[in-house]
Structures are given as C-alpha cells and as structure tokens.
Symmetry: C2
Subunit: 258 residues, 2 copies
C-alpha cells in the first residue's frame, strides 16, 4: 500500500464544506473520494488536513490516502483534473512516508481572510471577500490581534456547540495589512488599499475560530469594542462576549505546514 | 436633462454579453436599464462604450444616459448597488457635459486577456482565464504582436460575418507579459510565472477582434504558425488564415480612455 498526499485548490462556493457528518451533501471530500474511486477502482478513505466550512475556499488544502493501486502519481493527477469539476483542482500528487497523516503530521495551518473595506462592493470578488462598508482602523485590529498570539484557551472564539476535548490552541502569528484592489493581477488605483488581509497561523483551529476572531477584530476596527477588551473576552471563555462570526466567503485555507 | 456617466465592473459569466440585438436575453445593459428605470421612474436609453460578448468581464465599462431626474449622483450609485445583482457593481456615477457620448467620446479602449499556461488549471481562476497546457513562447508572441500595432485593415481578425462599414482600426499598443499566479493577491510561488497577460489598446475594436488576435498569438506561441506569418495573415484580409477565436472567459474590458 502506498500513502499518497494530494494538494488541492478549490472554490468553496458550490460545496457544503470539506466534510459533513452524514456525507449526504455535496462536499469537497465526497467529490474527491468518488473521483478517486472511479480512477483507482477501490474504496478510498481520504484524510483531509482540516474541515473547511461551507463556502470556504482553499488555495492549498492537503489530504492523504492509502492505495494498493500502482498508478504513477503524475498520471493520477492528470486523471483527477480531467474528471473533477472545474472548481476543484489538484495541484500536486506525491507519494509520502507511510506514517504521513494530513491532520496529525501538520505542524501549523495558515488561513487568510479578505475584507473589502470601501463604499462599494466588487463584482469580481463576489463570494471571495467580505464586503464591509464602515471604516475599519487596522491599527486597532493589529493591537487586539497581538493579544491572541500564543497559547490560550480560545473557548470564547469557538463555535458555541463545540465538541472539542480541549479549547486550548497555540496561535503562532496574526498579520493584518491593507493591499490594493487587485483581482487576478488587474492592478488598478494602486494608491488605494481597500482590501484588508488577515493571516492567522496556528498549530490548530477550533470550529469557526478564524471567523469568530475576524468578526471580533471587525467590531474592534469599527470601534464597537475597545481593543484592550480582547483580553477580557479571551479570559471570559464566553462566546457571547466576542463579535459575530464573519461570513465564510472571505476565508481561504492557504497553507498547511508539515 | 442631465447627462450621467456610469462606470461599472462585472463578471460576465452569468450574462449574454452587454447587449444582444433582440434584448430578449439576460444582458448587462438590460439589467442596468431595468434597475435605472425602477429608481428613476423613467425610460432609460443606456449607451455603452462597447458590446462585450457573452462571458466577457469588465473591470471598467462606461455607459452614459440622459435623465430628467434630479437624484444626487452619490445616491443613485448607492441605490444601483443596493438593487443590482452581486455580479454587476457600479464603481462611479458622475454628471458629465451634455455632449459626452460613451462610444463617440472614447479615444481608446484597453482589453486584457489572461492565459493560464501550465500543466494544471485553477479553481479560483475558473471562468476568469483561459487554461492552456502547451508551452507558449511569449517572445514569439511579442514579435508577432508588434506587426499588428498601427493603422491596418483587421478584416482577417474580425468575425467572418462582420457588418462594420470599415475594418480599418488603429492599435496603439500590445503588451504581453508573464506574471505569478496571484488570485486576489494570494501570492504563491512568486518565482513561477504561469499567467500570460495580453493588453491591447486600440482606438476601436471589431467584433471578436481581441479574441481572434489572441487565438492567433497562441498559435504563434505554440509554433503552429511562424511569427513572421502574422503580416501575411493581416494583409490577406482572410479570416480563415488567422488562428481560432480564443474563449470569452479570459477577456476583460479594463479601461476606456476619454
């Protein structure tokens, strides 16, 4: 049995996330497993690095599976891309060590969140960024974000119905910057910087954790919550004190570090 | 009567282009006219700078119309964006001189064409770039493109059923470059440059002219047609000698110069 590692990019708009409990819905995982099964003629158990939610995108999701097939990895990649729908693309297939595990071997994951912060939205970023009209002060957002870096109990930022054994996680980095509006390298008005990009790297994430942190940072950026309150929210372990869950559409899984 | 100039961005994937003869279909123009009518309570005749085809996108399309309404331009912009579908966004509304005409006042137009030139496609650029696997030599494409700049009869690059009075046009500039794969500023593997960007600025375009030029440049880049043949094709005025029409999805109207 070989252990194969697949890296993939997807537009999450058309899917009910990576995986749903029942597998009844149209998910990325189910689509990929079905396609692998049709190529390899065997049942495939795909292990994804993390469960992206409905509508969340991935630039670089990683999954692995064991197979008794001897198909060359290059040919498998070509066959997958020929059969998968156009919104899921395999960017690499590699044979890896037998003990490689997409979740357990991951050292950290990086998510990126896009906020389009200007008075009018964007047709070309529809479904790819959260359009937010009110002015956001990213200095305040950065100040608050700094308090979240490190090992903390993130219960206040987890989904209220979390089933995780522990809500302690270690955030390694949060970077917040403004960049020009630049869909596809179509650079226009480069002096304006309406896109806010929030990168969060963590050893692991709780369900909805990125979106709850972003929703809280937005409330801080618009001065609805003072920046120094973030510590109080974190220590309270009370989901009710944090900001709303930011919409899925602005969220991209961009990197898994192994 | 005021003369108002509207600048707009759209994702053309869901529309039968800017305008179709019968107006029976779902077009950008019809959608915008209907929305303007519902806000201004009067019939609107919208003049668009050019008719983008089905599936062609615009970063900056321009249209103008006369209105007896006294609605402030800022409020009209907000009302339009509140009512338009999410794949059409008004980026500016301005009152202009009475003789401003979106077509006749235009000095030049700039179209940009994206080719994703690598072995695997992209989920995030689906419908936004033409995925082309075979290696393309952009030096040959540039050499050929240089021969098209200037005032020429572009009959060989027009739609075969063109009704234009004259097929003479003046191309001011063609720029061809490779850029990194960078959807939404998600810069990855910046050393690789799989996206070919072709900018064409002209005083005017014939129907399908950009897509026919791009299709021919692709045939030259893949060495199916020698670069020096472009002059022979141009002078032949024979559509049959040029390359195929490149797909609409990679094409963006990016600028109208007035």
């Amino acid at each position: 049995m070989r252990n194969l590692k697949i890296t993939l990019e997807y537009d999450g708009a058309g899917y009910y996330g990576w995986q749903v409990q029942t597998r009844a819905h149209n998910t990325i995982q189910a689509t990929l497993e079905k396609t692998l099964r049709s190529i390899l003629k065997e049942k495939i158990d795909l292990i994804g690095s993390g469960r992206t939610d409905s509508g969340v995108h991935a630039l670089s999701q990683v999954a692995n599976f064991k197979t008794s097939s001897s198909i060359p990895v290059r040919r498998l990649g070509l066959a997958l891309n020929a059969l998968l729908p156009h919104d899921i693309v395999v960017t690499s297939v590699k044979q890896v060590a037998h003990d490689f595990h997409a979740i357990r071997s991951a050292r950290s994951k990086v998510y990126r969140y896009f906020i389009l912060n200007r008075s009018y939205s964007s047709a070309l970023l529809a479904g790819r960024a959260y359009f937010y009209k009110l002015p956001l002060d990213i200095k305040l957002m950065r100040k608050a974000a700094a308090a979240l870096v490190g090992r903390h109990d993130f219960k206040a930022f987890s989904a209220s119905a979390t089933k995780a054994k522990t809500t302690v996680r270690t955030i390694k980095k949060i970077n917040i910057k403004r960049i020009p509006y630049n869909p596809l390298g179509l650079s226009v008005k480069r002096r304006e910087r309406p896109l806010i990009v929030i990168d969060i790297e963590s050893e692991g994430f709780l369900y909805n954790m990125v979106r709850n942190i972003v929703g809280t940072l937005i409330d801080i950026g618009r001065k609805r919550i003072p920046a120094h309150d973030i510590k109080r929210i974190l220590h309270s372990k009370d989901r009710g004190l944090a900001g709303p869950t930011a919409p899925a559409q602005g969220l991209f899984l961009i990197k898994i570090n192994y």
